[in-house]
Amino acid sequence: MSAAADGDENVRTEMRAFIEDNFLYLDPEADLADDQDLLAAGIVDSLGFVEIVEEVEARYSVGVQDVEITEENFGSVDAIARYVERKRAGS
């Protein structure tokens, strides 16, 4: 397994835990699927969305540009993992 894939899975695990701890406490029994649409499912609101962006910036030391704050990049756990991977790869 490549280093990038390992990192990807770590991001997935960490961000899933972050979202569960901070946004899913209202529904402790719910399972968060990695491809679940966080905004559409009402798991995070607009402020929560910003909080996720800030968490990604702080935790993974990546600079997020305004234009990158989209559902494509932050709309699900999978999307975040892919985004972080791309940023680390320097794209």
């Binding site: 701890d21 901070n22 406490y25 209202l26 609101d45 910003v50 962006v53 704050i69």
Partner: protein
């Protein structure tokens, strides 16, 4: 001024105990610390606690009509009482005192409730006509003064300025009204006639209720906010000068609240002219610069030359006063904003002032709130969502970052709210944000409630012609009737001021000023570049430019920090402990635990989480206060200043 309460039975043979009246007077003594009076009739009893403002020597209540046996207890002020006195005198009415109470009583005797239209003021009253066994309850146009009541199974009616007087009578037992609570967590406050107590109603603003021998024979609004007003067609400046002048009428000194914003500055400026330079102003300052407006307050005070006083509402003071604010508000809250105003009223009281003029109402009348700008942007730029988003981004700079930085959820939330032609569209962003508190309900509580049900009374009560109004006019009506009247004038107005025997007076809520504002064209209120246009023009003549052109800073107070900062009081964690939550049975402890985790870690910075914390915490405090005591009742109070007992020989005795 004052508090009123009473018990009237359907049948005169059923006595009312004097001890019950004494307990009721004690429960609302804070509203009238200068003394109290009571009247006993066969099967009826009335009390009044007095804050002496007009005719300090003779203005005692209950007031018995000359030449008749009808009785008035009255809480409030009618500012145009000298003119009404002359009008009545010219029609042969003879007066014994200088008090406005006697004028109101005489007017009711002369014209009945039809005379209410002549009153310019803020009041709640109970008019007792024993020969008919008729009790008439009335509340002023905007419901500045509170009045609640309850019907008992035997036909008795129990009423009081505050609900705690009803409970003190021992005739009414407190019971939770879940639908009323759910309105707090949807609209910030229960909507009249509902309260958060089952079996207890509040009279609607502008409401009239006539009860006779155990039956309600009439219940209606004698006035209502809405498009159908009689426009005084008078210059706004002249109206405002007159309104402020009327509200400075008192036999005691009158001060002013000064927030540093446009509205209270205009009122202070007009009052300072009337008071010939002797005005005292009072402001709240915050240690957290996010909320603080100290610099602007001082600028205005200096410019106007007022004697200025500042009270600092730091986190510790907010947490310490919170339970007492709930005691006075008698309802859970979703904001801490009433607490600094409670501290401010205490400061006013400590400076021996009983009356203040304030700027409430201007943002509703002249469309100053961001909510109106949101509505305008959505409706004017419906076809250009990108431009709409850009303008919405500029509208909320205090949220930090550009609109793009706030992500796609933000856009969707604000833009979606205006869609669909819903009558309540303008207010759905607030409803959605507030209703997120409901996610913390226990499942069994949530099962019986819905946002739609909480909003239903508003939809059912829209005034005639509402659908023909444009979106901004609709928004203005909704703002007055769903927030100003039930919340701003209540928990954040009368209750926290009267907690310290301080009477707030609201020049913008003179019905003539309201009528003028309704008649003004949109361009005099909100344009693409300015808000409160007509008011800013007036302010330009009275105030420094930096104030007359200043952008509104929403009045808010810190919500999470006071209860989770180091040194926060121990009762907070106790009230929110799982066992305490289980005992009250409204909030789900597991869900609350997640919120508390975020509060403790400093992550709970959002509006929704702030409202959730305050909603949950205040419910716990409120529940303990009204349901936790083992039938704890206020002690019967001391000797009344006036005691009228007509149960024995119809004679009257005045103790003092």
């Amino acid at each position: 001024m004052c508090g009123i309460a009473g018990i009237v039975r359907a049948d005169e043979g059923e006595a009312v105990e004097e001890r019950a009246l004494l307990r009721m007077a004690r429960a609302i003594r804070h509203r009238g610390p200068d003394g109290f009076g009571l009247l006993l009739d066969p099967g009826a009893g009335l009390v009044s606690t007095r804050l002496s403002i007009v005719d300090l020597e003779h203005g005692w209540q209950p007031l018995v009509a000359a030449g008749d046996d009808s009785v008035l207890v009255y809480n409030g002020e009618v500012y145009n009482h000298p003119e009404l006195r002359e009008w009545l005198r010219s029609r042969g009415v003879v007066f014994r005192t200088r008090s406005d109470t006697e004028v109101v009583h005489a007017l009711l005797e002369y014209e009945g409730p039809a005379g209410l239209d002549r009153l310019n003021g803020q009041f709640a009253l109970a008019w007792w006509q024993p020969r008919r066994r008729r009790l008439t309850l009335v509340r002023d146009r905007f419901g500045v003064r509170p009045l609640s009541f309850s019907f008992r199974e035997d036909g008795t009616i129990v009423f009081g300025s505050e609900t705690k007087a009803l409970f003190a009578s021992n005739e009414v037992r407190p019971e939770v009204d879940l639908a009323g609570l759910d309105q707090v967590f949807t609209l910030w406050a229960p909507q009249a006639p509902r309260t958060v107590f089952a079996g207890v109603d509040q009279l609607e603003p502008g409401g009239l209720l006539v009860w006779e021998r155990g039956e309600v024979i009439e219940r209606r609004r004698w006035w209502r906010a809405g498009p159908d007003q009689e426009d005084p067609v008078e210059d706004l400046e002249a109206l405002m000068r007159d309104s402020v002048g009327l509200r400075l009428r008192a036999d005691v000194p009158v001060g002013a609240y000064l927030s540093g914003g446009l509205d209270s500055s205009v009122i202070s400026a007009l009052a300072q002219v009337e008071k010939a330079g002797e005005l005292r102003t009072f402001s709240v300052a915050f240690d957290d610069p996010t909320y603080d407006e100290r610099a602007e307050q001082e600028l205005v005070a200096r410019a106007l030359g007022t004697s200025h006083h500042v009270v600092e509402a730091d986190a510790a003071a907010i947490a310490a006063a919170f339970p007492d604010v709930i005691r006075h508000a008698e309802t859970p809250l979703v904001r801490t904003a009433p607490v600094p105003l409670y501290l401010l009223a205490r400061e006013v009281h400590d400076h021996d002032l009983k009356v203040v003029v304030t700027g409430e109402g201007a943002d509703e009348l002249f469309w100053g709130y961001d909510l109106f700008k949101e509505v305008a942007i959505r409706s004017r730029h419906r076809d250009d969502p990108e431009r709409a988003m850009e303008l919405l981004g500029e509208l909320y700079p205090h949220l930090g970052g550009s609109a793009a930085r706030r992500g796609p959820g933000w856009a969707r939330f604000l833009l979606a709210a205006g869609a669909g032609g819903d009558s309540l569209a303008s207010h759905m962003t607030r409803v959605d944000a507030t209703a997120s508190v409901r996610a913390f309900y226990r499942d069994d509580i949530a099962a019986g409630l819905s946002v739609d049900a909480a909003l239903e009374p508003i939809r059912d009560g829209l005034p005639e012609g509402f659908s023909e109004l444009d979106e901004l006019e609709r928004a203005a009506w909704l703002e007055v009737t769903t927030l100003l009247e039930p919340y701003l004038l209540a928990a954040q107005g009368d209750r926290v001021a009267m907690a310290h025997g301080v009477e707030g007076r609201y020049p913008f809520l003179d019905h003539r000023v309201y009528a003028r504002s309704v008649a003004l064209p949109e361009s005099e209120k909100l344009t693409d570049t300015s808000d409160k246009v007509a008011l800013r023009r007036l302010a330009g003549k009275l105030l420094p430019k930096s104030i007359s052109t200043r952008r509104k800073q929403p009045y808010r107070a810190p919500e999470v920090v006071p209860f989770f900062a180091p040194g926060a009081p121990g009762w907070v964690e106790e009230a929110l402990a799982p066992a305490a939550l289980e005992e009250v049975g409204i909030w789900d402890p597991r869900r609350v635990e997640g919120l508390l985790r975020r509060c403790r870690s400093g992550r709970a910075n959002g509006v929704r989480e702030g409202m959730a914390l305050i909603g949950i915490l205040s419910t716990q405090v409120w529940h303990e206060m009204f349901f936790g005591g083992e039938g704890e009742q206020p002690a019967e109070t001391a000797v009344p200043a006036v005691r009228i007992d007509r149960t024995v020989d119809q004679s009257m005795s005045e103790v003092s």
